[in-house]
């Protein structure tokens, strides 16, 4: 479980996150939605430690991530997998080496064990026999799946997905959604998804947070959105044709 308590973040004079409180549950797909520039990406970057918060607490199973030193944070980071909007696969490495990368850095597994784990992860995302290919020769959907395979290589407790469907066709988008949902339930992962894709939200969203101009404007279940009475959320949904 991840809890945010009174998170504030600003860049110079501009306040980007104001007093954010939220809870993300294990085994659930926790969605963060909001317009572009609302602060959801900044919130995710703060949660994974790419940005420092100005004040507040980020609790990973009751451990305050903000107060930890580098080595302590590294221990938590081993439990984090992240799927980037642009996949962020290492161009110079093959698919196999991309997925093996965290295993080589963080574990003392033997080469045969690493390859076995890589093949397992590739099988899990339905991409067998692409080990020796390089990211440049993969389609957008394949890259996303390799990104997921890399994210789950270390059996993460927490999975962050930044716009997992961006740039994908509707069929591939649903495949990626289904995969994230299955993995979340199968490994009891606390999954946090930043998205604009309302179709994904209504298909797999368990817990939803709506960010508006840096503030948490609404939190609830997908079935409650239409009766939320929150004007900003309803106009956001209307603009998304839902």
């Amino acid at each position: 479980m991840i809890e945010l308590k009174n998170i504030n973040k600003s860049f110079g004079e501009k306040s980007v996150l104001e007093n954010i409180n939220a809870t993300f549950y294990p085994g659930k797909c926790n969605f963060v939605i909001g317009a572009s520039g609302s602060g959801k990406s900044v919130m995710m970057k703060c949660m994974v430690g790419l940005l420092e918060v100005d004040s507040g607490e980020i609790l990973y199973n009751k451990t305050n991530f903000v107060k930890l030193d580098y080595e302590q944070k590294k221990e938590i980071r081993k439990e984090i997998g992240m799927l980037f909007q642009g996949t962020a696969l290492f161009d110079s490495l093959s698919v196999e080496d991309n997925i093996a990368f965290p295993l080589r850095i963080f574990t003392k597994m033997k080469q045969e064990e690493i390859i076995e784990r890589v093949n397992f992860c590739l099988q899990r995302v339905n991409l067998p026999n692409v080990n020796k290919l390089f990211p440049s020769s993969l389609s957008g959907g394949m890259k996303k799946r390799v990104g997921i395979a890399r994210a789950i290589a270390l059996n993460p407790k927490y999975l962050f997905c930044d716009e997992p469907n961006s740039g994908l066709d509707p069929i591939t988008s649903r495949l990626i959604d289904d995969l994230i949902k299955e993995l979340t339930a199968e490994y009891n992962i606390t999954t946090i998804i930043n998205t604009h894709d309302m179709k994904s939200l209504f298909e797999m969203g368990d817990n939803i947070i709506f960010i508006y101009k840096g503030k948490k404007s609404w939190e609830g279940q997908k079935g409650d959105i239409k009766t939320s009475g929150n004007e900003q959320l309803l106009s956001f949904m209307k603009a998304s044709e839902f």
Binding site: G49, L50, K73, R77, M82, F84, Q85, D91, P102, I105
Partner: protein
């Protein structure tokens, strides 16, 4: 003011390279890979430049030694010294600032804008240490070797051009090469090469690593890397000459 801001950021960036090093085995593997990329990848261009620099210096110096006051064989000495002291380390480094510098800056810049560096950081890896320190160490070892290679080729180029154009006989040129040779000239050249290597790799990596935006900014970072590396090479060429030869 902007210069001081950049200088301060560059200094902090250099310190960050040494924080939280990754496993030694990983570091060595990366360094060897970079040595191959910088060294083997630059062999062709360095060969071409060196042969022609030596050839041109022989013809130009030879053209100025028509008075008869200086013995012909001294052409070999002049060509040797000009190439060892200046042309081989400096011209080779300027060429490498273009080739290696732009390559490092664009690689780092692309990794930055495509979030590959963020991916490393999220894994808890000091990306500067993991990606950049091996490049700098590889440059410091490889570029001086390329400079030694350039010295040899420039002297061979100089000999060939002198002989083929009929300016000097091979025996006289070799006599000149052997006259008044100061071994420190090679040491001086290697010190310059190692310093230039550090400047080229670190300045280029800095500009690439600080890239924000997209493809346009990656191109701009690459250009800045080449320009500032070349300027630093020229400035330190003067500083080192003044410090070590005056």
């Amino acid at each position: 003011m902007k210069f001081f801001e950049h200088f301060g950021n560059y200094t902090l960036f250099l310190f960050s390279l040494f924080k939280r090093p990754e496993r030694f085995r990983v570091f060595i593997k990366q360094t060897v890979h970079e040595m191959s990329s910088i060294g083997v990848g630059s062999f062709g261009i360095v060969s071409l430049i060196s042969v022609f620099t030596g050839a041109v210096s022989t013809i130009q110096i030879g053209a100025q030694l028509v008075s008869g006051l200086v013995p012909d064989y001294m052409l070999g000495s002049f060509v040797r010294d000009s190439n060892i002291y200046e042309f081989s380390p400096t011209v080779t480094s300027l060429v490498l600032a273009g080739k290696v510098g732009s390559s490092i800056a664009s690689e780092m810049g692309t990794m930055k804008v495509t979030e590959q560096i963020d991916a490393l950081e999220i894994m808890g890896i000091n990306s500067a240490n993991y990606l950049i320190l091996p490049k700098i160490i590889a440059g410091i070892f490889t570029i001086p070797l390329l400079v030694v290679y350039a010295m040899v080729l420039s002297i061979i180029g100089g000999t060939l051009s002198g002989v083929l154009s009929g300016i000097i006989t091979p025996d006289e040129f070799i006599r000149g090469l052997r006259t008044g040779f100061i071994p420190f000239s090679v040491t001086f050249s290697l010190i310059k090469a190692a310093t230039f290597a550090f400047l080229i790799t670190s300045i280029s990596a800095y500009h690439g690593y600080k890239t924000e935006g997209g493809a346009l900014e990656v191109g701009q970072s690459s250009t800045k890397a080449v320009v500032y590396s070349a300027i630093a090479v020229i400035i330190f060429d003067y500083v080192l000459s003044d410090l070590l030869l005056s």
